[in-house]
Symmetry: C2
Subunit: 213 residues, 2 copies
């Protein structure tokens, strides 16, 4: 099972590393980190660098393709080399998946037309630009496509896929291995309306600024 | 607020990257990834490489020190250069923290004597070797020390610390930003007794083999 994770400057580290640490524990998984150049990419916040091990043209096949998100996706929405690579790999995948705003790249590559999909809550409506039907489910499955909500949802997405691909027992062992028994000190539902409104408007402003460029 | 995350070969990527993506969103956070050598370290499962940006002797102070876990910790339990660096930094920290088996390194550095602490469930009793009192709480706070359960618990640990350091509103904004509203497809409590017993005995065997070396 060849699993390819796309890595790029401005990605959110956890979008990739949550699923990575789930998939890496699946027997028979062979993971490759692919990017535009064979170098260290800088994740969204700067200080953390991830190592790209293969360039896009060196990776012509994936059983499972995973596209993480992060604000760096916006610059790639018109990067033909990336979009055509995603579309080409997709022709041979068993599952094509995204975490967070990685879904915008699947959309820009033309893969979500007429499909239900999710992304980060703050940009969910943007999925319509690509002909997709936004869904607020944490992990959305539609045909061979799997798209998740923002950042931390990648762990839930990957466990869902492992259960499909390798069965319940394997997924259970990974849940134990990662001690995935979350106990958020602040529940998502309890976040105050003020904080929600402030972040939603900051995201909307950033998206508008980017679209205008 | 200077936050130092230790990186090493055989670390579990998610132990570091969960907290990283939380801390990186805290205003004023200045994160540094430190390791034995300035190079790419290979995380536990191999294919993912993280970039070490500073060597231990270049990092003499941290407000918050975070030690991730992974099977690579076992080789470091007798690595004086690492243990004395952890102990030296600890003298100046506001908070010294670990995720998963990172607690074994805090213990080996002499920092957990007489303290309550947690680590991965599979090795929790090993904390007694270092004079610590094992606790099954997901995030254990004892004085300036913060230790968490395995791997994915690092996200809960980091959110707990951000709430302490920067207040509830900042922590709420990060919960939203990471869309941290976990929906595990398999609940930890529902994992079958067979899978639990098999993994517990595999871990015990691995620990015994390592101790015998």
């Amino acid at each position: 099972m060849k699993i390819v994770i796309f890595a790029f400057d401005g990605m959110t580290a956890l979008d990739a590393v949550g699923p990575y640490d789930v998939f890496a524990r699946m027997p028979g998984a062979n993971i490759e980190i692919a990017g535009l150049e064979r170098r260290i990419v800088r994740t969204e916040q700067g200080p953390l660098g991830l190592s790209v091990e293969a360039t896009l043209d060196q990776v012509a096949h994936a059983d499972l393709l995973l596209i993480p998100g992060g604000f760096g996706t916006r610059a790639l929405l018109r990067e033909e080399r990336v979009l055509s690579w995603i579309a080409a790999l997709d022709r041979g995948t068993r599952i094509t998946a995204s975490v967070c705003t990685g879904a915008l790249l699947l959309g820009a590559a033309g893969l979500l037309r007429g499909r239900r999909a999710n992304t980060h809550w703050g940009v969910r409506e943007r999925l319509r630009e690509f002909g997709a039907e936004p869904s607020a489910e944490r992990v959305v499955r539609d045909g061979k496509y799997a798209t998740s909500a923002g950042v931390s949802a990648g762990i839930d997405l990957a466990l869902t896929l492992v259960q499909e691909l390798a069965g319940r027992q394997v997924a259970e062992a990974i849940v134990l291995g990662l001690e995935y028994d979350p106990a958020p000190p602040i529940s998502f539902a309890a976040v105050s309306a003020d904080v929600r409104a402030a972040l939603a408007s900051a995201i909307a402003e950033r998206e508008a600024k980017h679209s205008a460029r």
